[in-house]
Subunit: 201 residues, 2 copies
């Protein structure tokens, strides 16, 4: 005996989600089968609602609800001169949480990774260049992840954007605040040394 | 900025599932927002379909589709004399895979764990006793998990069932096939010694 097709379909659909393996998918499916129907319906409805209501901002590819442009692009108080480039829409929430940035964003929807089939054409690079050409942008802050793909993406964007006469910067790598030199890996510590800033001036 | 209510609702609904933490829930939600709408709809529909079509068997509390009794209870080729008691419906699939058991099942829908609020009344123990009283059952094989809760459940069931004149057995604990004595924990090895069987007779 194996599962009925309905149960198997439920397990399979969960198994297709990222980070959910076959065992987790089975666990979740059985949880839902046992759960009150209204709980399951609420999850089902949340999925459909999100797909119906949420789209991507036409300008920056952030998530957008109730409009062609996202809430940040529509906000006249945000500085137009600065654009922070991130890999994914989630990263915007992380940057916003710092309350250090009052400009706008551009979501690449990924990072350069030819081995995974993600080239420049799969990213929103062309759209970024169009924005730099059309909007009043003075500085592009590249906030892709400090890993192999993110660094490659940053190098690539710098190559494309600098000739357009815009300032291109990269967020700093270094020791996390509250971190410990003793436990830092050599790459991070190397970056921290490289990116050192003058003090007491 | 945080997420819009629709996106937050999607994240929250996934976060309520077992084994999915806040970060995973966010990851899954963003995956679905980016995925083709038909993929998201398929997941949503699989949930609703499963809740509509799948119920619990009235006799053994296995999952049942298209009937009041499950496929195993309805199958006349299954032996009525033996009942294998498991904690969850998933466990039936595990036992069936062995092809060693041709009897029927009884799903307790949990294990005895007073600290989690699961007492005898929360389990399908009364229903099992009714079956032992009414059906032609000769042996009850207790296949609850070999952990604290499962063992407690087994002890409890044995106490209830033995006075009813039925044979009560417990699946063996011991070294897994292909395992290594050197790496076995002392409890498992202790059980393996305790449950030793005569060879060469």
């Amino acid at each position: 005996m194996s599962y009925s097709s309905t149960v198997q379909e439920l397990i399979d659909q969960f198994g297709r989600l990222p980070g959910i393996g076959p065992k987790s998918a089975q666990r979740v499916a059985f949880y839902l089968l046992k759960a009150p129907t209204e709980d399951a319906v609420r999850l089902s409805r949340a999925i459909v609602d999100a797909k119906e209501r949420v789209s991507f901002c036409e300008r920056c590819f952030n998530l957008s609800e109730g409009g062609e442009e996202c809430a940040i692009c529509r906000d006249p108080r945000r500085e137009e001169r600065m654009v922070c480039v991130v890999e994914d829409a989630q990263d915007i929430v992380a940057v916003e949480r710092t309350q250090e940035f009052r400009g706008r964003y551009h979501v690449l929807q990924g990072a350069f990774s030819p081995i995974d089939g993600v080239g420049v054409d799969q990213l929103r690079v062309k759209e970024l260049m169009t924005r730099v050409g059309e909007e009043d942008i003075e500085e592009v802050i590249i906030a892709t992840n400090p890993n192999l793909e993110g660094e490659a993406t940053a190098a690539l964007l710098a190559k494309y954007l600098k000739p357009m006469g815009v300032k291109v910067s990269r967020i700093a790598s270094g020791l996390p605040v509250g971190g410990d030199l003793e436990y830092a890996d050599e790459l991070t510590l190397g970056r921290a040394l490289e990116g050192r800033t003058t003090v007491g001036e």
